[in-house]
C-alpha cells in the first residue's frame, strides 16, 4: 500500500441489500410501534443524554432500519432510559422498550456472533 501513498476509500453509500437489517426485524416483531416513527426528532430534542453528549435516538432509529448496526452498537448504551422521549413522542412509539430491545439484540448477536 505504501508505494501508492493512499488507499481505496470506503464508500459512504448505504447498500440496502447487503446490509443486515435483522435488528430492525427483531424489534418490529416485539415492538410494533417501532414502525410508527416519523423522524420528527422530538425524542432527540428532549433527551437527557443528548443534553450531555452526541446522542440522537431519531438517528439511531433510522440507522437500525437501514441495517447500519455498527454505529448503533456503541451509541445505544449511552441512553439513560429516563423516558422523556416516550412522553413527548407524537406517534406513541414505545421508545424505552426499543432501546432495551436493541441492547438485547446486540447481546444476542454477540452470543451467536452474527
Amino acid at each position: 500500500m505504501e508505494k501508492f501513498g493512499f488507499t481505496i476509500s470506503k464508500g459512504r453509500q448505504i447498500d440496502y441489500e447487503s446490509n443486515n437489517r435483522w435488528i430492525a426485524e427483531y424489534i418490529y416483531e416485539r415492538e410494533p410501534s417501532f414502525r410508527l416513527c416519523i423522524e420528527c426528532g422530538g425524542c432527540a430534542a428532549t433527551c437527557t443524554t443528548g443534553n450531555l453528549t452526541k446522542f440522537s435516538l431519531r438517528e439511531l432509529h433510522i440507522l437500525i432500519k437501514r441495517g447500519e448496526n455498527d454505529q448503533v452498537r456503541q451509541n445505544i448504551r449511552k441512553c439513560m432510559l429516563c423516558g422523556k422521549c416516550t412522553l413527548v413522542c407524537p406517534r406513541g412509539v414505545n421508545t424505552r422498550n426499543i432501546v432495551v430491545l436493541v441492547k438485547q439484540a446486540f447481546n444476542k448477536s454477540d452470543d451467536y456472533a452474527i
Binding site: S33, T48, N51, L52, K78, M80, L81, C82, G83, L87
Partner: protein, 633 residues
C-alpha cells in the same frame, strides 16, 4: 397388630413428603447468606418463633387476610386448611384415647374408623364421633365451594381464577377425592356396623339400606388412601407445595429476612409459598383496565417454579405494588419481579442496588462501577455549596408548572438552596434499575452521589417520587432526602410560610413510588388539608391506583396506558372534585390527558395558596446564585 395393605399408598406418600420437606429445608438453610443464617438462628430462640406460630395459626389455617378481603374465598381456604388440621389433630387424639394402644402410627389415626368399626356407638365415643363428622362436614362445605370456584369462579366472588398445569390438575383431583372418599368409606363402614354420627351414620345406614355396605366400604378405604398418597407425592411439583413452604416463609419473615435483589433461598421460599389464590390478579390494573391477563404475580410465581422463560411476564408490569399489599401470604412480589428483570445481571456485589444490609459508601467513591464505563461522557460535576439541594428530575422538566411552583415555594421558604438540575441533570438511575440494568444505574447513582456530597448540603428535595425512592433506597447519602411534599410539610410546621385557604374540593391520588413504594402517605394529605378541602376517594393509601404512566412497564402500548389512566381518573373523579391532586410529574402528565378535571401537583396548589411577603431578604442574591449553578453541557 392392626394392618391392612390399603394403607400402603398413604404411608408411602406421607413418609416421602416428610423426608422431602426435611431435605428441602436443610438445602434452603445451607443456601442462606451468612447474615440471614444468623437472623434465622436468633429468630429461632427469640420472639420470632412465637410470633410465627401465632401467624401460622391465623394466616395458614384461619386465612384471616383472605377472609378480610373476600369472605367466601376465605371460608373456602379456611375450611380446607383449618378443617383438615382439626381432622388430623382430633383424629390423632381419638386414636390415642380410644385406640387399642397409645402413640399409634399416623395411618391408625387417619383410618381409625376402618380399624375400629365398632367404635362410637354411644356416650363419649358418640359425642366424639359427632365432633369428627362435624369437622368433615365443615371441610366438605369448603370443598364444595372450591369445586364451584373451578367451574364458575364468581361463586367465591372472584373475577379471575388461576390457570393450571396438568400435574396441578391431578393433584387437585386427588385433593378433591380425599374427603368424599373418606366420607363414603366411613359411611359404608358405619352403615355396615350401625355406628357413625349424624353425617356418616345417616348416610351409611341409608346406603346400607340398598347396598352391600360391608363389601362397598373396602374399595373406598383404598381410594381414600390412594388419593392421600398421590396428593403427598405430587405435592413438591405442584402449587400445593405452598402448604408446607408457607410455614418457613412466615418464620423467615419474622426473623427479619428480606428479599434483597438477588435470587436466593428467601425468594425461592416465597415463590413456593404462593397458593395461586388469584387475589393479585383481581388487584392488577393491567387485568381490569388493560385486559392483559397473563402476567400477574401468580403467573410469574408459577413460571418461576416451572423454570419457564419469564422475561415477557416480568417486564410487562407497572410495578405499582398493589399486589404486594394485597397478597395474603405477604410475598414480596415486586422485589421478586425485579430479580427476574435483572436476570443474570445481578451477580457482582458492586452492582447490588438494595442497600438494606450494609450501609456504607463502598464502591461509590469511584464514579464508575465494575466493568467498562458506559456514561464516560458525563462531565466533572462541581456544584456550589448550599444547605438544601433541589433536584427536579427528568420528568419534572416536562411539567414546568411543578418546577416553577417549587422555585416559588423554595424562594418563599427563605432556605439557602441550589437548583442542581436546573439546566438538565443526569437521570437518577431508577428507570435503568426498573429495566433490570443495575450496572448502568450504579454509574449514574455514583455520579449523582458525588455531586450531592460535594455540595455539602444537609437536605435533598426532589419533585419526582421515582427519584425520591431511589435516592432513599439505593444512594449511599448522608443527607436527608425529602420529597417536596415532605419539605413543604416541614416549612409549614416551622411556620416559615403563610398560606391562604383555597375553597376548592380536591381528591388526592397517591403516586405508586411515593405511596406504596416509599410509604409516604400522610405528608401530602397533611399539606393538602392545610390549603384546601380534601375529599376521600375509594382508593386511599395502600389501595390507591396506578396512573398507568409508570416507567416500570417496558412492554405496554400507549393505548393501553391511556385506558388505565382513564379508568383510574374516572374512579378518582367520581365525586366531581375541582382538582385531582397528585405528587408526581409523571402521574400529572398521564392524568392530564385522561380526564377533564384539572390535574395539579401539590406544589402547584401550594404555590397558588402561598402568601408572598414583601421581597425576601437576599432573594435576588439567591436567584442569581441559582442562575449560576453547575451548567452541565
Amino acid at each position: 397388630m392392626q394392618f391392612d395393605p390399603f394403607v400402603i399408598p398413604f404411608n408411602i406418600g406421607l413418609y416421602f413428603i416428610l423426608i422431602y420437606v426435611v431435605v428441602r429445608s436443610v438445602i434452603w438453610f445451607r443456601d442462606l447468606s451468612r447474615p440471614d443464617k444468623l437472623r434465622l438462628q436468633r429468630g429461632f430462640f427469640g420472639s420470632a418463633f412465637a410470633l410465627s406460630l401465632k401467624e401460622i395459626f391465623l394466616e395458614s389455617l384461619i386465612h384471616r387476610k383472605i377472609l378480610k378481603t373476600n369472605l367466601r374465598l376465605g371460608y373456602m381456604h379456611m375450611s380446607l386448611a383449618f378443617g383438615w388440621f382439626l381432622l388430623i389433630f382430633f383424629g390423632t387424639v381419638e386414636a390415642d384415647i380410644f385406640g387399642t394402644k397409645h402413640l399409634n402410627a399416623p395411618y391408625k389415626a387417619i383410618f381409625f374408623r376402618f380399624f375400629n368399626p365398632e367404635h362410637g356407638r354411644m356416650g363419649l365415643e358418640a359425642a366424639y364421633g359427632f365432633l369428627m363428622d362435624l369437622i368433615l362436614a365443615f371441610i366438605l362445605s369448603g370443598l364444595f365451594l372450591a369445586v364451584f370456584k373451578r367451574i364458575y369462579s364468581k361463586v367465591v366472588g372472584m373475577k379471575k381464577t388461576t390457570r393450571l398445569k396438568t400435574t396441578d390438575k391431578i393433584a387437585l383431583t386427588s385433593l378433591w377425592l380425599i374427603f368424599p372418599s373418606r366420607l363414603l368409606a366411613e359411611s359404608f363402614t358405619s352403615g355396615a356396623n350401625g355406628t357413625g354420627s349424624f353425617l356418616t351414620g345417616t348416610l351409611g345406614s341409608w346406603l346400607a339400606s340398598f347396598l352391600p355396605a360391608q363389601q362397598m366400604a373396602y374399595p373406598f378405604w383404598w381410594l381414600y388412601s390412594i388419593s392421600l398418597g398421590t396428593f403427598f407425592i405430587l405435592l413438591p411439583i405442584t402449587r400445593y407445595m405452598h402448604i408446607p413452604t408457607e410455614l418457613f416463609l412466615i418464620f423467615m419473615r419474622n426473623s427479619g429476612i428480606k428479599t434483597g435483589d438477588k435470587a436466593g433461598t428467601y425468594s425461592e421460599v416465597q415463590t413456593y409459598s404462593c397458593s395461586s389464590c388469584g387475589i393479585c390478579i383481581d388487584a392488577c390494573q393491567l387485568n381490569f383496565s388493560a385486559g392483559i391477563t397473563n402476567i400477574q404475580s401468580a403467573y410469574l410465581m408459577k413460571a418461576i417454579r416451572n423454570n419457564d422463560d419469564v422475561s415477557d411476564i416480568a417486564d410487562n408490569c407497572l410495578m405499582c405494588g398493589r399486589c404486594d399489599k394485597k397478597c395474603p401470604v405477604g410475598i414480596e412480589l415486586s422485589p421478586i419481579r425485579m430479580i427476574q428483570r435483572r436476570g443474570v445481571e445481578a451477580e457482582n456485589d458492586i452492582r447490588n442496588i438494595y442497600k438494606g444490609y450494609f450501609r456504607s459508601r463502598q464502591s461509590v467513591t469511584s464514579q464508575y462501577s465494575a466493568g467498562s464505563p458506559v456514561y464516560d461522557f458525563l462531565p466533572e460535576s462541581n456544584p456550589e455549596k448550599a444547605d438544601v439541594l433541589f433536584f427536579a428530575g427528568c420528568m419534572t422538566h416536562l411539567t414546568p408548572t411543578i418546577k416553577n411552583s417549587m422555585i416559588k415555594i423554595l424562594d418563599a421558604s427563605g432556605v439557602n438552596y441550589k437548583f442542581i438540575d436546573e439546566h438538565g441533570g443526569v437521570c437518577c438511575g431508577r428507570p435503568l434499575m426498573l429495566a433490570g440494568q443495575d450496572k448502568e444505574a450504579r454509574e449514574l447513582i455514583n455520579y449523582n452521589s458525588q455531586m450531592i456530597w460535594k455540595s455539602g448540603a444537609h437536605t435533598l428535595v426532589t419533585s419526582c417520587p421515582i427519584c425520591y425512592k431511589v435516592f432513599k433506597e439505593s444512594y449511599y447519602l448522608d443527607v436527608e432526602v425529602l420529597h417536596h411534599t415532605q419539605f413543604i410539610k416541614n416549612i409549614i410546621d416551622e411556620g416559615s410560610v403563610k398560606m391562604n385557604f383555597l375553597h376548592k374540593k380536591v381528591v388526592y391520588h397517591a403516586p405508586c413510588e411515593l405511596g406504596r413504594g416509599s410509604g409516604v402517605y400522610d405528608e401530602p394529605k397533611a399539606v393538602l388539608e392545610h390549603v384546601i378541602r380534601l375529599e376521600k376517594s375509594k382508593y386511599e393509601d395502600d389501595n390507591s391506583l396506578c396512573c398507568g404512566g409508570s416507567l416500570a412497564n417496558m412492554k405496554i402500548s400507549s393505548v393501553k396506558r391511556n385506558k388505565i389512566a382513564c379508568d383510574a381518573a374516572t374512579e378518582l373523579t367520581k365525586g366531581n372534585p375541582d382538582i385531582l391532586a397528585t405528587a408526581c410529574p409523571l402521574c400529572k402528565k398521564t392524568f392530564s390527558s385522561a380526564t377533564d378535571t384539572r390535574v395539579a401537583d401539590i406544589s402547584e396548589i401550594v404555590a397558588e395558596a402561598l402568601i408572598i411577603p414583601e421581597i425576601k431578604k437576599n432573594i435576588n442574591k439567591q436567584i442569581s446564585a441559582i442562575k449560576e449553578t453547575i451548567t452541565i453541557s
